[in-house]
């Protein structure tokens, strides 16, 4: 067993400490943790050194006879007061670090991270790159998760669209959520902030070097809590400027004409893609759902009934169920996915829902 473990050690990663920090506060946190562990370790060894000494020397089998003392005011006062001073010594550096961690003033860039079941959405709100918006989904293929294919190096920590930020700039991250509580955690940045639906919280970081840093959702949010990672790519200022240009151009090109009228054949394939990325996790690709938590859409009264009803569910969610609101999606995307559901599986309404219908329903 020992050899097996040692052999594993040679090639495996068996990291004992926090991840290498790449921010100044991250270094402070790393040092604080190390200091505390050492202080606790020293006290632990001292106290249990005494205990094990006693275990050895004061054994009855070694002939030791029991003393009778059972109190000593001096000693008791000492071992009450001394720990208070040790704790004060630890609290002082900790306080300074905490105050610094909560100071989100004067950021260079502000980005909103929204937690969804089960992915992240990023909106660049202020600073260079303002206006950029995208979702970031796990990109590890299902066969790897199901053990049908070999796992890649960044298994479960890779996404389709990474969060790109420039090095050396103060980045303020606003966190919120669409449905349940999530949490945005990137260990190398020493940042973790709960993402609470209906509320905005914030945190910040200033990356000292370029590179790609990976984290995960850190608050249980339902079945795919382990499958919504965060990838932050820190680049030079020039690379960042180039990226923002590219992203904005892509967004403009992909932007839909809100007044365009579509046919079923034009919209349904787009709807199918959206369905796969946003709906199939619960309602299943075959539309059968997982009742009672996730109703079937194939043959559903809502899908086959008046369009207004289905639009309402998509825009506002369903209170008291897992069906969240999808109003953050574009009019065209919502129209596409509704059109898809009304013309798939055994649903054959032949109906098409237009982006303008969605726009009107929002008002």
């Amino acid at each position: 067993m020992g050899l097996f473990l040692l052999a594993g050690l040679a090639q495996a990663e068996m990291r004992l400490n926090l991840q290498e920090p790449i921010t100044e506060l991250g270094h402070k946190v790393y040092d604080l943790h190390l200091l505390m562990t050492i202080v606790c370790g020293v006290i632990f060894v001292a106290v249990f050194g005494v205990m094990f000494w006693s275990v050895f020397v004061h054994r009855k089998s070694a002939g030791h006879k029991a003393a009778t003392f059972h109190e000593s005011t001096t000693v008791e006062i000492l071992w009450t007061i001394v720990p208070v001073f040790i704790l004060l010594g630890m609290a002082w550096p900790a306080t300074k670090t905490i105050l610094a961690m909560r100071d989100t003033s004067n950021p260079d860039i502000t980005i909103k991270a929204t937690g969804y079941q089960w992915k992240w959405g990023y909106d660049y709100l202020k600073g260079a790159g303002e206006g950029i918006s995208f979702t970031s989904n796990l990109s590890t293929p299902q066969p790897q998760i199901r053990n049908e294919a070999a796992k890649g190096t960044d298994y479960l920590l890779e996404v389709d669209n990474e969060l790109v930020v420039p090095v050396g700039k103060k980045v303020r991250i606003l966190t919120t959520a669409n449905d349940v509580i999530h949490a945005w955690w990137v260990p190398a940045l020493a940042v973790k902030q709960d993402a609470i639906p209906g509320f905005i919280r914030d945190t910040w970081f200033r990356a000292e070097k370029t590179g790609t840093f990976r984290g995960q959702c850190a608050e249980l949010c339902g079945k795919d809590h382990g499958y919504m990672p965060i990838v932050v790519k820190v680049v030079t200022e020039e690379e960042y400027a180039a990226w923002t240009e590219k992203k904005k151009a892509e967004q403009a090109a992909a932007a839909d004409d809100p007044n365009k009228m579509y046919t079923v054949e034009e919209l349904a394939p787009r709807g199918e893609k959206i369905f796969a990325a946003n709906c199939a996790a619960c309602h299943q690709a075959n539309g059968q759902g997982l009742p009672p938590a996730f109703p079937a859409l194939d043959g559903s009264k809502v899908v086959l009934g008046p369009q207004d009803g289905q639009i309402d569910v998509l825009l506002h969610g369903r209170q008291g169920t897992a069906m969240a609101s999808f109003k953050h999606m574009s009019d065209t995307d919502i129209a596409a996915v509704i059109t898809y559901t009304r013309n798939s599986w055994s649903n054959k309404t032949g109906e098409v829902v237009q982006p303008s219908d969605i726009k009107m329903a929002r008002e």
């Binding site: 106290v47 009855k60 704790l87 306080t95 053990n147 190096t153 902030q193 382990g226």
Partner: protein, 529 residues
């Protein structure tokens, strides 16, 4: 039964001839020894059930990828494992000790409310059936973690309602039991036994029972508010309706933090009985131990938000809760020092109860230190909701409370059964538990530090090695607990006859009655000098 003033001996005039036998004896018993035994058997059964769930979890986590269960079932396992272990295993185990030992230790004939005592126990099996049965209903069991945070819990199916109902029933059982315990200890001590003369185990249960009465209703309130948010149109925890999900966290942890002391303080009490016995020396600093335990209990009310450092509370809140939490280390340290000082220059032997107590001392303190690390907000930002937290609470609850429960079980088995247990098997149980426990949980500290979140069924490749080791340890630990079952069954069937006081260093009224303790003891209270 006719009341006879003055406590004259009336043991010949009982209606015992009408007492049922067989199953009905157990259903209707009002005897604290019977009820204590039922609590202990129930808690062990729940420990096995919760343990099997833990093994499902560790089997899934043995390797990256999904092999054993789907992610939703996995979350149901983590949730039920937590609820069953906390409410079905460890709490009833210590209540079982309280029932068996408190009347014996204070020289009372039974608990103050013997019939309510019966109800307190019999509420538990239906609650357990609700909880485990919820796995089979459509949608499965609650899958939100034992902490039941909304809005996630508002989304779930009927399994969540069953869990809420079970929590209510368990809460009522605990509150009734605690009312019983406080009344018994305050009103029924033998003449001459002042509060400062009673065994520390009695003090720890007195303090714990007050904590239970104070905080269980809060848990009941919190889960009721979830129930109404789910079904009756309230929006306590829903921003769209004017509420706040974080409100739940405040209410839950106001209960939750004292709850962990409700688990730990009786464990302190057991160990405070066992260590002096096997050191052949009185407990060091009895009065300080009483004050320290009381301080821990009072402080436990004002530290709850250290479970919530990352919700976005104002920095002043984070700082306050950090300072208050660090303070708890002081009285806890006093207790650890006092236990070591009890051993110091004693005349030590290392029978199984003492082994488990020393194991407790060593490993509970280790868990306490990881708790101190977690209390530092700046560090907690990295460790919150990671495996470091999982490691911390398993050290204090398993190597802490569970080891203490084993220490008490081995210590008092001769009194309960009239036989000495098999010492060789007991020692085997201890060493196997010690080794496999540490194999399972020590490496989890590193997993948390390295960045592995908790409550995930699958993980990225850099966590693979430590997870493999942890899973192997878990299976070893689980199997080792079957040794205890063998020890107990063997001891019940036979073994060396136990005298009234089989441990020469033991003190206390329980050692003045024969082994096994007669069905009725201290019908006439003894006089304590």
């Amino acid at each position: 039964m006719a009341a006879i003033p003055g406590g004259a001996d009336h043991s010949h005039d009982h209606s015992h001839d009408h007492h049922p036998s067989g199953l009905m004896r157990w259903v209707t018993t009002t005897n604290h020894k019977d009820i204590g035994s039922m609590y202990l058997w129930f808690s062990f059964a729940m420990f096995i059930v919760g343990g099997i769930m833990a093994l499902v979890i560790r089997a899934e986590l043995f390797q990256p990828g999904l092999q054993v269960v789907d992610p939703d079932r996995f979350n149901q396992m983590t949730t039920l494992h937590g609820l069953i272990m906390v409410f079905g295993a460890i709490m009833p185990a210590f209540v079982g000790f309280a029932n068996w030992m408190l009347p014996l230790m204070i020289g009372a004939s039974d608990m103050a409310f013997a019939r309510m005592n019966n109800w307190s126990f019999w509420l538990l099996p239906p609650a357990a059936i609700l909880l485990t049965g919820s796995l089979l209903v459509p949608g499965g069991a609650a899958a939100s973690g034992w902490t039941l945070y909304p809005p996630l819990t508002v989304q779930m199916g009927i399994g969540m309602d069953m869990a809420i109902f079970a929590v209510h029933i368990l809460g009522i059982s605990s509150i009734m039991g605690s009312i019983n315990i406080v009344t018994t200890i305050l009103n029924m001590r033998a003449p001459g036994m002042t509060l400062m003369k009673m065994p520390l185990f009695c003090w720890t249960w007195l303090i714990t029972a007050y904590l239970v009465i104070a905080v269980m209703p809060v848990l009941a309130g919190a889960v009721t508010m979830i129930l109404t948010d789910r079904h009756f149109g309230t929006s306590f925890f829903n921003a769209a309706g004017g509420g706040d999900p974080v409100l739940y966290q405040h209410i839950f942890w106001f209960f939750g933090h004292p709850e962990v002391y409700i688990i730990a303080i009786p464990a302190f009490g057991v160990v405070s009985q066992v260590i002096p016995a096997f050191s052949r020396k009185p407990l060091f600093g009895y009065a300080s131990m009483v004050y320290a335990t009381s301080s821990i209990a009072i402080l436990s009310f004002i530290v709850w938000a250290h479970h919530m450092y990352t919700v976005g509370m104002p920095v002043a809140g984070q700082l306050y809760f950090m300072f208050a939490t660090m303070l708890i280390a002081v009285p806890t340290g006093v207790k650890v020092f006092n236990w070591v000082a009890t051993m110091w220059r004693g005349s030590l032997t290392f029978e199984t109860p003492m082994l488990f107590s020393i194991g407790f001392l060593f490993l509970f303190t280790l868990g306490g230190f990881s708790g101190l690390v977690l209390s530092m907000t700046a560090v907690d930002v990295q460790l919150h909701d990671s495996y470091y937290v999982v490691a911390h609470f398993h050290y204090v609850m398993v190597a802490g409370a569970l080891f203490s429960a084993y220490a008490g079980a081995y210590y008092w088995l001769p009194k309960w059964t009239g036989h000495m247990y098999d010492e060789k098997l007991g020692k085997l149980h201890f060493w196997l538990s010690l080794i496999f426990f540490n194999m399972t949980f020590f490496v989890q500290h590193f997993l948390g530090l390295a960045g592995m979140p908790r409550r995930i069924p699958d993980y990225s490749l850099q966590f693979a090695e430590f997870n493999k080791i942890s899973s192997i340890g878990a299976f070893g630990f689980g199997l080792s607990q079957l040794v205890f079952l063998v020890v107990v069954l063997k001891c019940l069937k036979g073994g060396e006859k136990a005298s009234a006081k089989p441990w020469d260093g033991a003190e206390g009224l329980e050692w003045t009655v024969p082994s096994p303790a007669p069905h009725h003891t201290f019908e006439v209270p003894p006089v304590v000098k």
